[in-house]
Each structure stands twice: as structure tokens, then as C-alpha cells.
């Protein structure tokens, strides 16, 4: 299954992400399911891309491949000019790629502020800016609370604070507002796009929400196959 860029932009030479001929199949023989078949796209530095598609269409798999947690069966991935086959993925994830999931982004045993400090410290960023990021995301007064002591929306804001505290070049967000109510989801999305624009990082966002996808500069539809 090939994907296509909705706005039809050409591949730029200095792209943050460059993907071509990407294939990924789960299972073997008759039960094999091909989730990605010859996928290719390029994401310019500083821009945003929405991944659309039904459940099982390969959005999360693609994000996992883009941060090196899974390996493609075929095809190439280039991040910031580095070939994915030889890239130091742990180093890329630690310092350049921020990942935000739909939920459970935080260590339950650490306060919100400590979570942000932990993430910043791993990326080699100053911990002194961590409280600032919580304040930017409007949860500055909740820094000493634990994840179970705040709401879902506040947890997602903290997850964004963690991502931005590491000064990433790329944020991979897997349905970051999927578990939130509409108003909270909008607020969190607003913060995400605002900070992405301010920091100039690239963003790949997997979502079912067409409204949210429309706020991205590009959209990649992975198809409508349901399953897996």
C-alpha cells in the first residue's frame, strides 16, 4: 500500500525525514498482513505531516519505524540526512526525536516536573528550563503532583512539556489527543502546533481526526484497510 502526499509537494533536498519504498509485513504465509507497501514521502525540516488512516492501517508502525523502535522489511528511512540502516537510533531518540503517545507518556513514580527533568537530562538539555516548559503549557503549578493526581489533559500537556524540553528536531505524536474530550483535545492541539511553530521542529502526527490533520501542512493517507 503506497501513501501519497495530499498536497502533492515535491521532495525537498534538505528534508527532516525522507522515506522511500518502505515495506512492513506482520505474520507469515496465509496470515501475513502487509501494513506498509512501498511507502514513500519526504518531510521538510520545520513542517508538519498528518498520518491518516483507519485502525490497523500502519500509522503507529510507521511512527515506530521512524524512531527506530521497529525495523522495516524493505525501503529506506533517512532522518536529518542520516541513513536509518546505520543511524545511532538511541542517540537520535535521546536528543532529536520526541515521541508522544495517546497516554502513559509519564513515569508514574515521578512528579510532573521530575518527568520533564528526566527527559531533558537524557537529552542533555538544561533542567533549569523544565519548570518554564510546564508554565508554557499552563501546568506550572502542578509540577510537584504525580501523574495519577492530575487530569488526562494535564498529563498530555506534561507529555508535550517533556517533548519540548528536550529541544527536539522532530516530534512523533501518536494520537496525542485521542483519549481527551473535544475541548481539552483542542487546547492540547493548540499548544502542540503553537510550540512546534515557535521551536521550528518538524512534526508527524498520527490521528483519526480530520480536523486535527487539516492543521498540518501535509497529510499522508495510509488507506482504509481495517484490521490488525
Amino acid at each position: 500500500m503506497g501513501g501519497e502526499l495530499a498536497n502533492g509537494e515535491n521532495v525537498k533536498v534538505h528534508s527532516a525525514v525522507n522515506v522511500s519504498g518502505l515495506r512492513k509485513t506482520f505474520g507469515q504465509g496465509d496470515s501475513a498482513v502487509a501494513v506498509l507497501s512501498g511507502l514513500g514521502f519526504a518531510l521538510p525540516a520545520g513542517s508538519s505531516l498528518a498520518l491518516m488512516g483507519r485502525s490497523g492501517s500502519g500509522k503507529s508502525t510507521l511512527l515506530n519505524i521512524l524512531c527506530g523502535l521497529e525495523q522495516a522489511d524493505a525501503g529506506t528511512v533517512t532522518l536529518f540526512g542520516a541513513d536509518g540502516r546505520t543511524a545511532d537510533w538511541p542517540c537520535l531518540r535521546r536528543e532529536r526525536i520526541g515521541v508522544v503517545f495517546q497516554e502513559a507518556n509519564l513515569m508514574p513514580t515521578l512528579s510532573l516536573l521530575d518527568n520533564v527533568r528526566f527527559r531533558a537530562a537524557l537529552a542533555g538539555q538544561p533542567e533549569t528550563r523544565c519548570q518554564h516548559w510546564l508554565e508554557v503549557l499552563d501546568i506550572g503549578e502542578l509540577g510537584q503532583r504525580f501523574p495519577d493526581q492530575v487530569s488526562g489533559g494535564q498529563r498530555q500537556r506534561a507529555a508535550l512539556a517533556m517533548a519540548f524540553a528536550m529541544a527536539p528536531d522532530l516530534i512523533l505524536a501518536d494520537e496525542p489527543t485521542g483519549s481527551l474530550d473535544r475541548n481539552t483535545a483542542n487546547e492540547v492541539a493548540d499548544e502542540l502546533f503553537r510550540l512546534q511553530a515557535e521551536t521550528g521542529c518538524s512534526l508527524i502526527l498520527a490521528t483519526h481526526d480530520a480536523e486535527l490533520a487539516a492543521r498540518c501542512q501535509q497529510t499522508l493517507d495510509l488507506g482504509h484497510r481495517s484490521g490488525g
Binding site: C67, R94, N105, P108, T109, D148
Partner: protein
């Protein structure tokens, strides 16, 4: 799909959790069954042995020759009720069998133990028909003729003698059984803790399922009923193989146990007839039900127990009351109750202590990575509290038993060397004149160059205890010389041996001193054959292995009409050959068959017997430790699987798998090491209670308190090994896709 199948489907999705629960049930059942089986056999054997020695007399030939079938025929023809008893050690085997004649036993009506052979099939465990026993190829065999109580006078060529040569060991046997029972109760406690922890874990794994069932309108009562049913199904699957495995375990240990019973208590064979499966099955079923039903009682328990804030204070109080009880207890059962209170309090305090340590670690860490690590450590300790407490108790038990064993082996070996300092020991035959032998020895062994000797006379006397007079064993020695003066004394006056030799004082064994609260310098009022004596206590000597009180005196103060029940000479020949001495004694006493025992052989035998005793105790404690280790291993693995997502987050945040494994390894090592570190003071305390309190109460003697730091290091290394194994199991999991925790789970606060 019913509620039950919906609940049980959890194990279809997570087969390893079900396997872990079943495996633990099986191992716990096996361990407890094994221990119970051995304890029951020991109890049966001791009972049988005590009954046998209680009323039996044997017939011996006056000329000292071995008995034959002709002797039996002659006595029966004279109308005497005698029964042949043929002990055979079959070639290549270590266990004796006993051949009896059921027909001959017919005249023992009313004497239950022997009469029980009447008409019963003999299956060879250990009794078999005398004809079959005689047909065996024997490495050793000896025929005894047992005489019924109250039988008339024997022909002049025969005399009677007690059938059992050892002293009455009833009290010692009871103490031995009490210790075995205490050990099995401790094992049962540890087993209960482990089963409860696995059960709780299985519940926590299904929290979402319970929430869903509640939303679907299934009542909590119904869910609990189904859980109980599920547990009983698992029990039905595991109890029978567990009991079978336990009996197999007991049969492996049985060889050593037989020797222990035989050596310690003169129990000639280990009773094997009983089938001890009902009690373990019942106990384990009740234990499982208790494990499950604690939850039903929880609301009541919660009302009856103090709130969270007061719990540490209540636990501390429990420990303090228990310690006071241990200090003051004057009965074994009170001591065990006090010890149970201490253990309960410590078990309650331990997770709290580790939680405080974790909190301190979090506060002291500046780096968020370390703060996370300390917080995870706290969660692990809290969630694995029960198996950790079980591991702590097991480690403490192993440490205490090991320290006791090493101390005992060392002390006993030294004591036995002193007691058996002479090379040989010659028993004075009944009716022989010991003065003839003493005169000969004085004449021919006048100095240490020729050899050393002393004459031992044993009998019974009385001593005043308050207003009452009590019987006591008398141990008289003449002369008090170098064979004795090397004895180690627990307390002594100045020059105790010289004073004893002059007849100006006595010594008492530790048992008597402990019972009477005697110390050196105090005077003891004695009556020996109606002659009253009042002599100071010059020293207190250790006297292991028997419970009776004893007074040591110089033979010269023994009245002439003192009834001597046993006499012997201890001799260490130097330049005079032993054969010269024994030939002379045979001639002096006109006794062709002298009982001459090689003290070195006795010492070797005694050491072997105690080695076997402790091998058994060690085996039991090590098996308990193994069970606790396996439980923690399984629990740690299953629990850490539920934290897998958070370790996966670390990978998402850029840590390499090797870095994550190091963190995980450090966590697992810290948790098991903490349990071991906390087990050390508990183990040392248990050792102290065993040697200073339980032994004096049970046996009348105590052992010196000693600690063995090298063994501590071995236990700490073992704890590290367990932690390492948990981490290695988890390493496999790290490579697999992690399941994200549910939102409901993460907001309850249970994950931190």
C-alpha cells in the same frame, strides 16, 4: 461464556501467570508434605522405640556366648514366653531389617507392641518373618531373645538384661519432635505468605476484568465466589502431584533420617507403614482457602487493626512484646509464641522500612534518573512485600540453622574429644569385682608413661531442691586425673579439679545447673545411699545429647553401700599394650567376653550421626529457601512484566537496551539484597534464641553464641544470584512488544 470462564480466560491470555501460581502451589505442597511426612515418621518411630524399650527385657547367656535357636527352643520348652528378634543388616544395605516370629509373639498378650505381630502379615518395612530375615545374605546379624514382662526364673545358664542399652530418650525425643514441628510451622507460614502473594498478584492482574464485570452488573460477592472456585480447581490440579512429590522428597531424605533416628534415639528402624497424605492435603486446602478468604475478612480485619499511621507503631509494639516474651519465657510453647510475635512484627515492619529507604533515596537524589530508580525500588518492594518477607524469613532461618549447626559441630566435637579422651573403654561385667581391676591398673600403670586410666561408677542419688528431694544421676570417677582435667568448664572455682579429687566438692552438668539455677560456690545437699553430704559446686560442665541432670564426684566419697548400676574403666595405654591389659582383666574377672569399645570409633560414629541430623535440617531449610527464591523469582518476573511499558518508555527516550538492562539488574539486585540484609540481624537474633533459649528449655544445655560472617557473605551472594536471575528473565521480556497500561490503572496511584 459464563462469569467463571470469562474470569478464567485471564490465564489463557497469560498462561505463565497461571503456571506460576500452580507451580508455587505444587512446590509449597511438596515441601510441606515432605516435612510433615518425615516428622510423622519420626514421631511413629520414636513412639515405637519408646514402647519397645519400656517393658522389654532380653535373655543373655551367662557365659557370654551368642544366643542360638537351640537357646530359644530350650527356654520355650521350659514354658517361658520368649520371642526371637533377629536383627539383620543385609549385605550392601545401610538399613537393618528385623525378623520376628508372629507365632512366638502369641504369648505376649496385652503387650501391644510385640503382640501386634500376632497373626499380622509382615511386609518387611522394617519387620519381616524371621525365616525370611534368616535367609538374607547378611553383613551383620544378631539374635536377641525378648522376654515377656513378669516371666518366671530363668535356668542358671541364662540371665536377663535390658533390651535397649541406651538411656530413656523420651524427653530428648520430644524436644527433637518439637523442633521439627516448629520448623514445619515456620515453613507453613512461609508457604502461606508465598501463596497469598501469588494470589494477590493474580487479582491485581485482573483488576480491569473485575471492573468490567462490576459494570456489567456482576456482584463482588459472586466474583469472589468464582475466584474461590477457580482456586479450588487449581488446588485440585496441584495438590495431588504436590503431595506425591513431597513423599518422593521425604523418601530421598529418609536414608539419612533413619540413621539419625537410630543414632540419636535408638529407634531401630524408621516406621514406614503410615501413609501421611491426608493431613497435608487437608492443611494445604485449608491454607489455600484461608489465603483466598482473607479478602472476605479484610473489612473486619481493617476495622480491628489500627490505621495506616499507627501500623508501624503497632508492629513495633508487637516486636517489643515478642522480644520481652523471648527474654522471659520459661516454657517452650511460650517461647515459640513470643517468637511468632517478633516475626509477625518484623514481617509487618519490613515493607515499611524499605519504603522509608526508598523515600530517603528519592529525596537524596539530585538527578531525576536516580529519583526514578529509587521510586521504582519503592514500588517493587511494596508490590513484592509478601514474597520478600518470605525470602527474608527463609534466609534468616537458613542463617540461624547454619550457625547453630556449625557451632554445635565445633562444640560437640571438642566436648566429645574431652569426654572420650581415653583410647578405650571397658565395661565391668555384672557381678565382677571392679576393685581387682583397679588394683591391677594401679600396680601396672602407675604413671602416665605406662598409661592413664580412671574408674567410672554410675548410679542414682538424691538432692535437695527447696523443700523437696529429687533423684539425680551420680557420676563418680576414681582417680580424678589427666583424662578428666582437660574438660572445658562453663563456670569454675579456682583449682576445681584438685578440690574435686580431694572430695571437697562436686561438679554438676549444665542441665542440672540450669534447672536449679545453680552457680559455682553454692552448696548442694546430696544423699548417696542414705549418707547425707553438703558440698560446694566447684564447676559446671557441658553435657550434650541427653536431658538428665548429673552430679560428678570423686569416687572416694561414694559410700560403700551405694548401688552402682553401671561401671567401666577408661584406659589410654602408653607403653603397656592394650591386649596385656584386657587379657589381665579377663583373667581377673573370669569373664571371656568383655565389652571393649574403641572411643575413636564411638567419636566417629557420633560425629557421623550428628552430621546426618544436621544434613536433614539443612536440607529442609535450604528447600524452604529454594521455594522462597523461586517464588520471588516468579513474582518478580510477573510483576516486572506489568512495568514493562515504563522500561519501554526509557527505550523510547533514547536509552539503549543495555542501559535499561543495567537499571533493571540494579533494581532486582537491590530488592533481593535488601531482603538479605534485613535477614541478617533477624538470623543472628534467631541463632541467639536457638542456642541460648530454645536449647536450654528443650534440652537443658546451651551452646556458645557465635556468628559466621563468611556465611553472611554467601547468603548475600545467593540473594544477588536470585536478583540476577529475575533481571535475566526480564531481559527476554524487554525485546517483546510492551502492553501499555490502562488509563484506569495509571490514575489509581497504585503504580507508584
Amino acid at each position: 461464556m459464563t462469569v467463571f470462564t470469562a474470569l478464567f480466560s485471564h490465564y489463557r491470555r497469560h498462561p505463565w501467570q497461571g503456571t506460576a501460581l500452580a507451580l508455587l502451589m505444587l512446590l509449597a505442597t511438596a515441601l510441606w508434605t515432605g516435612i510433615h511426612h518425615l516428622t510423622s515418621q519420626a514421631r511413629d518411630s520414636l513412639g515405637q522405640s519408646e514402647r519397645l524399650v519400656e517393658v522389654r527385657e532380653q535373655v543373655q547367656r551367662v557365659d557370654g556366648a551368642a544366643l542360638t535357636v537351640e537357646d530359644f527352643v530350650l527356654l520355650r520348652r521350659q514354658g517361658l514366653c520368649v520371642m526371637p528378634w533377629l536383627e539383620v543388616l543385609p549385605e550392601g544395605q545401610s538399613r537393618r531389617v528385623i525378623g520376628v516370629d508372629p507365632l512366638a509373639a502369641l504369648c505376649f498378650q496385652g503387650q501391644a507392641d510385640v503382640a501386634s505381630f500376632d497373626g499380622q502379615p509382615l511386609v518387611g518395612q522394617p519387620f519381616l518373618d524371621i525365616a525370611d530375615a534368616a535367609a538374607l545374605t547378611a553383613a551383620e546379624q544378631q539374635l536377641f531373645l525378648i522376654l515377656a514382662a513378669g516371666e518366671g526364673p530363668l535356668p542358671s545358664a541364662y540371665r536377663t538384661a535390658p533390651f535397649a542399652l541406651s538411656p530413656d530418650t523420651g524427653q530428648l525425643g520430644d524436644s527433637f519432635l518439637l523442633n521439627l514441628d516448629a520448623l514445619s510451622v515456620l515453613v507453613l507460614l512461609i508457604t502461606g505468605l508465598l501463596l497469598r502473594s501469588v494470589y494477590l498478584l493474580s487479582l491485581s492482574q485482573r483488576r480491569d476484568s473485575f471492573a468490567l464485570l462490576a459494570r456489567l452488573g456482576v456482584s463482588g460477592r459472586r466474583v469472589r465466589g468464582h475466584l474461590l472456585l477457580e482456586l479450588l480447581c487449581l488446588a485440585a490440579l496441584t495438590l495431588i502431584p504436590g503431595i506425591w512429590l513431597g513423599q518422593a522428597l521425604a523418601s530421598v531424605l529418609e536414608g539419612g533420617f533413619t540413621n539419625v533416628m537410630e543414632g540419636l534415639f535408638d529407634s531401630r528402624q524408621l516406621a514406614t507403614g503410615g501413609n501421611h497424605w491426608r493431613v497435608p492435603a487437608l492443611v494445604m486446602t485449608v491454607l489455600l482457602l484461608a489465603v483466598a478468604m482473607v479478602d472476605w475478612l479484610m473489612p473486619m480485619v481493617a476495622r480491628a487493626t489500627p490505621g495506616n499511621r499507627l501500623r508501624p507503631a503497632a508492629a513495633t509494639l508487637l516486636v517489643l512484646v515478642g522480644l520481652a516474651g523471648v527474654w522471659l519465657a520459661n516454657a517452650l510453647w511460650l517461647l515459640f509464641v513470643a517468637l511468632a510475635l517478633v516475626l509477625a512484627g518484623i514481617g509487618w515492619l519490613m515493607p515499611r522500612g524499605l519504603s522509608l529507604l526508598s523515600g530517603a533515596g528519592v529525596r537524596a537524589s539530585a538527578q531525576p534518573g536516580w529519583r526514578w530508580w529509587w521510586a521504582e525500588f519503592g514500588v517493587l518492594c511494596r508490590r513484592l512485600a509478601l514474597p520478600l518477607v518470605a525470602l527474608q524469613f527463609s534466609l534468616a532461618m537458613v542463617l540461624a540453622v547454619q550457625a547453630l549447626v556449625i557451632t554445635f559441630e565445633d562444640t560437640f566435637d571438642r566436648w566429645l574429644s574431652q569426654r572420650l579422651s581415653a583410647d578405650v573403654y571397658v565395661q565391668v561385667p555384672e557381678g565382677a569385682d571392679s576393685a581387682l581391676a583397679a588394683n591391677w591398673l594401679t600396680e601396672h600403670l602407675p604413671s602416665a608413661d605406662e598409661g592413664l586410666w580412671h574408674h567410672v561408677q554410675r548410679g542414682s542419688g538424691r538432692f535437695r531442691h527447696g523443700q523437696a528431694w529429687q533423684d539425680v544421676d551420680i557420676f563418680a570417677v576414681t582417680p580424678v586425673g589427666p583424662l578428666m582435667t582437660g574438660w572445658g568448664l562453663l563456670e569454675q572455682t579456682s583449682q576445681p579439679w584438685q578440690t574435686l579429687a580431694s572430695g571437697a566438692g562436686v561438679m554438676v552438668n549444665e542441665q542440672l545447673a540450669y534447672r536449679l539455677g545453680l552457680s559455682v560456690g553454692e552448696e548442694l545437699e546430696l544423699v548417696l545411699a542414705e549418707q547425707a553430704l553438703k558440698l560446694p559446686v566447684l564447676g559446671i560442665y557441658p553435657d550434650y545429647g541427653r536431658p538428665a541432670g548429673e552430679v560428678l564426684i570423686a569416687g572416694q566419697i561414694l559410700p560403700a553401700d551405694f548401688e552402682v548400676t553401671f561401671e567401666s574403666f577408661s584406659i589410654s595405654p602408653a607403653s603397656v599394650p592394650i591386649e596385656t591389659i584386657t587379657d589381665a582383666l579377663r583373667a581377673l574377672w573370669a569373664e571371656p567376653a568383655l565389652t571393649i569399645r574403641d572411643n575413636r570409633a564411638i567419636q566417629d560414629l557420633a560425629n557421623r550421626v550428628f552430621e546426618q541430623t544436621f544434613m536433614l535440617t539443612r536440607a529442609m531449610t535450604v528447600l524452604t529457601l529454594a521455594l522462597a527464591a523461586v517464588a520471588l523469582l516468579l513474582m518478580g518476573w510477573v510483576f516486572l512484566s506489568t512495568r514493562l511499558w515504563y522500561f519501554r518508555l526509557l527505550e523510547v527516550w533514547g536509552m539503549t537496551k543495555a542501559e535499561i538492562f543495567r537499571k533493571l539488574l540494579l533494581l532486582a539486585l537491590a530488592v533481593t539484597l535488601s531482603a538479605a540484609a534485613l535477614a541478617l540481624p533477624l538470623g543472628v537474633g534467631l541463632t541467639w534464641v536457638l542456642v541460648q533459649h530454645i536449647n536450654p528449655l528443650a534440652f537443658g544445655w546451651s551452646l556458645p553464641m557465635a556468628v559466621y560472617p563468611v556465611f553472611w557473605l554467601e547468603l548475600l551472594a545467593l540473594a544477588l544470584l536470585i536478583g540476577g536471575c529475575i533481571a535475566l528473565l526480564m531481559r527476554r521480556q524487554l525485546g517483546r512488544p510492551a502492553v501499555r497500561p490502562s488509563v484506569t490503572g495509571s490514575v489509581t496511584g497504585e503504580e507508584r
